[in-house]
Structures are given as C-alpha cells and as structure tokens.
C-alpha cells in the first residue's frame, strides 16, 4: 500500500530542503545568540535606556507567535518599507530575532541564578565589577545556560518548518511540494519528520556530551 521505496527518487529535493533548513537554523541561531547576549546584558543592565529597549524586544517577540512574525515580516513589512526581502533572508531574520529574545531571557536567568554571595566574595577581594563578572559570574552562568540553550536551539530548528508559508525552500516546503504533486503524503511527511528527528536528536546528544565535559 505504502511505497517507501519511491522516497529515494525525492531525496535530492528533500536534501535541498534539508540544506536550507540547516543553513537558516545555523545562521539564524548564530545571529540569535549574538542578539541574545546583547539584549540579555540589557536585561541585567543598570542603564535604564538599555534595559527598556531590551525588555520591549523580549516582550514583543515572546508575546507573538513565530508564524505571525514570519508572515508580518515577509508580507506586511514590505508594504510599509516598499522593499521586499528574499524569503531566505526573511527566514534567517525571523529565526534570529525570535531565538534572540528567548536567548536573552536565558542569559538573564542564568546570571540572576548565581548566588549574590559570589559577586560579594569577588568584590570583597578587590576585584572590580567587570573582573568579578568575567572570572566568577560568567563562567558559572554560562554552564547553566547550556541546557536551556540546547532546548532553544531545538525549538528554533523546528520553527524553521513554519517558514514554508513565506516560501522559504526548506525541508517542510519541499515536503509539501512533493506530497501535493505526487499524492504520497504518508511516505514524504514521515520522511520529513524523520529528518527533523535525526537533526534534533543528534543535537541533543552533542549537548549532553558538552554538559558532561563541563561538569565540575
């Protein structure tokens, strides 16, 4: 009844989708990580202006669905700006901005979770604030960030599948295209699901390994 053998014929096309999924995930998350670090610092900053900007960013992104963000960016923003972004660029921007907001919260939460006695001990030894952050707070906070960061990476990779609605030629887009032309939804969508599973499970294992290496 189901013919999984035929999937082989579509592997090149699915492979192309996989390529874009990985490209957008990697570039998007790299930028998201930088955004997250910057705005995470904003969320713990004593500078009111920086704090407010960072807070608005985080709340706006957390308060709206990724799908709405993608569609707004791709279909609404061009009308305002009179400028159309390429769909792949738009996809990267969506993943970057979206993951950045969550990563900012991860950064803030991890730094906040370090007992304030650590900062006090550092300061009482004569380290200035910057040195205490660098040698005492960040190394500990960074380690605590790894599990939630891994979680966010996985969520963002899965979110890239929503980008098919803004015509990004990623894995889900290719799957939908094939399935609607060849009426093989079971075979194709099962394969697509497996692709995501393999990516995310590998990432999980990698993160678990890193976490173990960092144990003290």
């Amino acid at each position: 009844m189901f013919d999984f053998g035929q999937v082989i014929d579509f592997l090149p096309q699915l492979g192309k989708g996989l390529y874009y999924t990985l490209l957008i995930s990697i570039v998007g998350l790299l930028i998201g990580f930088i955004l997250g670090a910057i705005f995470g610092l904003g969320r713990i900053s004593k500078n009111k202006f920086f704090f407010i900007i960072a807070s608005i960013y985080v709340e706006v992104i957390r308060g709206t669905p990724v799908l709405v963000q993608a569609i707004w960016l791709y279909f609404a923003l061009p009308i305002i700006l009179q400028f159309q972004m390429a769909s792949i660029t738009a996809g990267i921007v969506v993943i970057a901005i979206n993951s950045g907001a969550y990563i900012a919260e991860i950064v803030r939460g991890s730094v906040d979770s370090i007992n304030k006695g650590q900062m006090e001990a550092g300061r009482s030894l004569g380290l200035n604030k910057h040195q205490a952050m660098r040698y005492i707070i960040w190394p500990q906070a960074f380690k605590r960030m790894i599990p939630p960061l891994g979680n966010q990476f996985i969520i963002s990779i899965k979110d890239t599948s929503l980008l098919s609605v803004i015509l990004v030629p990623e894995l889900m887009f290719q799957g939908r295209y094939i399935a609607s032309n060849h009426f093989n939804a079971v075979e194709i969508y099962t394969t697509v699901a497996l692709f995501y599973l393999v990516i995310n499970f590998s990432l999980s294992l990698l993160l678990r390994y890193i976490e173990r290496r960092l144990n003290y």
């Binding site: 006695g117 650590q118 001990a121 300061r123 009482s124 004569g126 380290l127 040698y135 005492i136 500990q140």
Partner: protein, 240 residues
C-alpha cells in the same frame, strides 16, 4: 585602623543602623555579639562598603569610605572578608580560589600566586586539598579555604560574619583554631559571632549590638561576668 562615626544605614525606610560609633586599633580583635536582626552583618558589611553608607563616616586605614575619591577596590584589597556561607567559587579548584584575586588584582605571576596559595593552604591545614573543588570539601574545610583566600591578598584587617554558624558542631573547632592562630599572629579582626567561648578567649573587646546601636562595649571579662545594661544581661542569659 577603623574609626566609625555616627554611622546610619537604612534599607528604604527601615533604619537598621542608628548611629554607630567605634574604634578598632591595629592588632585588636573585636567580637560583635547581639540578637538576630540587630544589624551586626549590616555593620560589618559597611566596613568594606558591601552596603553603602546612608550617613556618618567610616574611616579604614586612613581612608574615608564616604569620600568619592577613595578607591574602594583598593580598600577592599586591604580588608579581607569571610562569610557565613563561605562563598567559595564552585567552578574553581581550591588553589584557584586562593590564586584568583592576587593574580587579577595584584597582578602577581602565576608561580608566585601558587607559592603563596600553597603556603596559605598549608597554614590552614589543607595543603593536600589544593586541586579539589569546593564541593568535595566539608563545610569546615571550605571555610578554612575561604580564610586562606582572603589572606592571599595580605589584608591588614579581616572581617568575619558568623564564620561558623553554617557548620555542623563538630566542624566549628577547626575553623576557630585557624582564627585563633591569626589573632595570635597580630591580625586585626572584627568578628561577628555567636561563639561566646571564642569571644571570651580571643577578643580584646566585645561589642554588644541591639536594635542598630552598640549598647555596650567592654573587655570580655566584664561583658560576660558583669554587664551593665539590662539588655546585655538578658541576651547573655539566653545564649550562655
């Protein structure tokens, strides 16, 4: 070494220190006792500006902490502090804990910092624990590392905030031993403590704090045997 004049400290509208005056001479050991919430920790933390001062003067080693021109990081290198909860750096080994500040603040070489660190660990009886992580040590051992870490900056003055309160009773002695040794060597010390035995034996002077002021101050003999204030008597009756 320390002069405190009319020190006031408020958290919001809660005035915790209500005009503290005191002097601590070089090489003197002063113990601070008093009921919970009387402001002992707050007082101690004002001496190295972990809490900012609401009003009054705190002069440490000739520097007025209220002066904008006073380099607070420099003062803190002269004032060691030991906390109730140890506050060791969990991501660093014992020797790294001790070496960090001398390396980064005093900018001495790794080798010199290590030698100094090893000597201090030996002094607190933990030479063989240098490469372990704090989590692998008992509370008493951790607190002794914390003392070594503070001493690594070669401070002129040491502040202790209930250094044995978080310890199991059988571990208290080893920490007090190290502190006694320090006192004998002539370190200037201000010790907030509930260990009345230690205060009686080691202190040159005892301050009794209550409700944000120093109610009574005297030699341990007089405070413990013949206190003048009713409140001191009541407090001592409860704890002795």
């Amino acid at each position: 070494m320390i002069t405190v004049q009319d020190l006031h400290k408020s958290f919001g509208d809660n005035e915790v220190l209500k005009g503290i005056n005191c002097e601590v001479e070089e090489k003197e050991v002063v113990c601070v006792i008093g009921p919970s919430g009387s402001g002992k920790s707050t007082f101690l933390r004002c001496l190295n500006l972990l809490e900012d001062i609401t009003s009054g003067n705190v002069i440490v080693d000739g520097y007025n902490l209220k002066d904008k021109t006073t380099d607070i990081n420099m003062i803190r290198t002269e004032v060691g502090m030991v906390f109730q909860q140890f506050n060791l750096f969990p991501h660093k080994t014992v020797i790294e804990n001790v070496m960090l500040a001398p390396r980064k603040v005093r900018k001495i070489s790794v080798q010199e910092a290590r030698e100094r660190g090893e000597a201090l660990l030996k002094k607190v009886g933990l030479a063989e624990k240098a490469d372990q992580y704090p989590a692998q040590l008992s509370g008493g051992q951790q607190q002794r590392v914390a003392i070594a870490r503070a001493l690594a900056m070669e401070p002129k003055l040491m502040l202790f905030d209930e250094p044995t309160s978080a310890l199991d009773p059988e571990l208290v002695g080893e920490v007090l031993e190290v502190m006694k040794q320090l006192a004998k060597e002539g370190m200037t010390m201000v010790v907030v403590t509930h260990e009345m035995g230690f205060a009686r034996e080691v202190a040159d002077r005892v301050l009794f704090m209550d409700e944000g002021i120093i109610m009574e101050e005297n030699t341990p003999e007089i405070i413990f045997t013949n206190p003048t204030s009713e409140r001191t008597k009541n407090f001592l009756n409860k704890v002795l």
